[in-house]
């Protein structure tokens, strides 16, 4: 069976959930080989995690020489592993860095690239959601080694025992790949809440909050949810851009999306339209968001949300 490369998405050695989803998908296509670009000291711990989700091999690329440079060295390392292993496919998380690595890799390998897959089945055949979620598209790569970037929540991680054989790989990174330097890096403070694109439940606030996200955060915490924001809320400076759900922010597809004080402009809808269950709370009964909902409340979020939160907490006992 052919190898399927899965680039491990991690924060300083802590493997992120989308990687487990990619490993599960990789098992449909071949034998998963995780590619960990990071500190070799963390290689064994990473292998322990990924082998529980089917990784047969874990390539470990020491990033000491390359971690100070943007994207290009990782693409080179992946190219070299791919040339040696001849994989059936290469799976990468669909985030900004992942897509850039995938793009450069596609040029290097002269291979087709499909981004933002919401499902991948044997073939590989990918499913994408397009036109603000109004169409789904099935596609295949027709040249070279399929390179596919996959959105979070595309699969439920399935435990499966893999050998997890740690395989150090000495990548030969060119000088030319080291020209864009990471001059400084400030880690994002963890909010303590689930990550927006990975969360099962998202509670988002918009212009209707008037800048007070207390009701949003209260309900999110009662539900164990992530907090999101509309573009209007971000443009008003109420929350940083990383909270933005929408075409130019994050595109999410959780089990439950609650939009409070959000009118539902196309730009926002493009970011959440494929959520399984959609709820909205808005003072304006004409707000376009109500066209999308499974359940809606016409009312003031400043009273409806706290009352909802209270009842949710009471039920949870």
């Amino acid at each position: 069976m052919s190898e399927v490369l899965v680039l491990v998405d991690h924060a300083d050695g802590a493997v992120k959930k989308p990687t487990l989803e990619l490993l599960t998908i990789a098992r449909r296509l071949g034998e998963p080989s995780a590619v960990f670009i990071g500190s070799p000291a963390q290689g064994d711990a990473v292998a322990e995690t990924v082998k529980k989700y089917g990784a047969e091999k874990v390539y470990v690329v020491d990033d000491a020489d390359i971690k100070g440079y943007l994207v290009a060295p990782k693409a080179e390392a992946l190219q070299q592993i791919a040339s040696a292993a001849g994989p059936a496919a290469i799976l990468i998380s669909s985030n900004a860095e992942g897509k850039e690595i995938a793009g450069r890799l596609a040029v290097k390998l002269e291979s087709g690239l499909i981004t933002d897959a919401v499902d991948v089945q044997a073939g590989p055949v990918t499913t994408q959601s397009v036109f603000a979620g109004s169409y789904t598209v099935q596609a295949k790569v027709t040249q070279g080694t399929p390179i596919i970037t996959v959105k979070p929540n595309a699969a439920t991680p399935e435990e499966a025992v893999g050998a997890g054989a740690v395989t150090p790989f000495g990548a030969n990174v060119s000088d030319s790949a080291k020209k864009a330097q990471i001059v400084a890096s400030q880690p994002r403070e963890s909010s303590g809440r689930p990550e927006l694109t990975e969360a099962a439940i998202v509670v988002s606030g918009g212009r209707g909050t008037g800048g007070n996200f207390g009701p949003i955060e209260g309900l999110a915490d009662a539900l164990g949810a992530a907090v999101g924001a509309s573009r209007a809320a971000v443009d008003s400076g109420w929350l940083p851009h990383t909270y933005q759900v929408g075409q130019t922010g994050k595109v999410v597809s959780p089990q439950l999306y609650i939009a409070a004080g959000i009118s539902g402009a196309i730009q926002h809808r493009a970011g959440m339209q494929t959520s399984k269950t959609i709820v909205a709370v808005n003072k304006d009964s004409e707000a376009p968001i109500f066209e999308l909902v499974d359940f809606g409340v016409v009312g003031d979020l400043h009273t409806v949300l706290p009352a909802t939160t209270e009842q949710v907490i009471a039920r949870k006992g």
């Binding site: 924060a11 943007l70 994207v71 290009a72 985030n95 900004a96 897509k99 850039e100 995938a102 793009g103 450069r104 596609a106 040029v107 290097k108 291979s111 087709g112 690239l113 055949v125 603000a132 979620g133 109004s134 169409y135 789904t136 598209v137 099935q138 596609a139 295949k140 790569v141 027709t142 020209k179 864009a180 330097q181 990471i182 001059v183 400084a184 890096s185 994002r188 851009h241 990383t242 130019t248 089990q255 959609i278 709820v279 709370v281 109500f290 066209e291 909902v293 499974d294 359940f295 809606g296 409340v297 016409v298 009312g299 003031d300 009273t303 409806v304 009352a307 009842q311 949710v312 039920r315």
Partner: protein, 264 residues
């Protein structure tokens, strides 16, 4: 300094979009315009020009690939303040994937020559892949300084603030380089009346594939490295239940709904 800003002519996202029988996007049915996210790229290019020690020595060239109508995207950039424009227009390019698009763009940048900065938006508003700037950097063998929300420079040294998921980074490189900017990088200017008039006199060239030395067999739908096999319209969501809140009835109804769906 010579800056090439890549601008894409895209279908209006607000319009009803459909597919043709060959599963390409039906472009004829929908009006087109300069991609909103590329306006930020034009804006930053103009700001770099304006902040340079000798703005008159900085040339901003707006580059686009598309059908004849795509000239509107180039014109808008000229109206905003770009100095000249290039439209690569060739039927053979229709249906190109990102690999084909980046190949043509790279060839055009090389033909323009002596380019210090290639500036792009963070994604197209139709394809939304966000890969072309990285592919351009790869093809042109230039550093990529991408996803910038703030751009600073001194001479040929450029730095951006890049808001990643895990960290906020400062990325730096020496020009020539590929720069991409996000919608957080600063509001794009509206063309002034003076700008609209001045644009009419600015040089605008039309190039075909032959002018770039790119073989037709390397681009277009038939050369694409991925293929759409099927498209399915999502069934429209059935209208949900909407209640009006009265003295807390809204919260109670919502909680009942959430419980019925097993969220609580």
């Amino acid at each position: 300094m010579k800056i090439v800003v890549c601008v894409k002519y895209v279908p209006d996202a607000g319009a009803d979009q459909k597919f043709e029988s060959d599963l390409t996007v039906d472009r004829a049915a929908v009006p087109g315009l300069l991609s909103e996210l590329d306006e930020y790229a034009v804006e930053q290019s103009l700001q770099i020009k304006e902040k340079s020690p000798s703005p008159d020595e900085v040339e901003v060239v707006a580059l686009s690939i598309g059908p004849a109508e795509a000239v509107d995207a180039v014109r808008k950039a000229l109206q905003m303040g770009a100095d000249s424009g290039v439209l690569v227009c060739d039927e053979a390019i229709a249906g190109s994937d990102a690999l084909g698009t980046s190949k043509v763009l790279a060839a055009a940048v090389e033909k323009i020559g002596d380019v210090d900065l290639v500036v792009c938006g963070m994604a197209s508003t139709d394809g939304g892949m966000s890969v072309v700037p990285a592919m351009l950097a790869e093809r042109l063998d230039l550093p990529q300084v991408t996803w910038g929300s703030v751009v600073e420079f001194q001479g040929d040294q450029f730095r951006i603030k890049r808001d990643g998921d895990v960290a906020t980074e400062i990325i730096g490189a020496t020009a020539p380089l590929v720069l991409s900017v996000t919608d957080q990088s600063g509001e794009a200017r509206y063309p002034s009346f003076k700008g609209i008039m001045a644009a009419k006199k600015k040089p605008l060239e039309n190039w075909a594939l032959g002018d770039l030395g790119v073989d037709a067999g390397q681009v277009g739908l038939s050369a694409a490295s991925s293929a759409v096999e099927a498209v399915n319209a999502r069934p429209p969501r059935t209208a949900g239940e909407i209640v009006t809140d009265e003295d807390g009835s809204g919260a109670t109804a919502l909680v009942t709904f959430l419980a019925s769906k097993k969220f609580i």
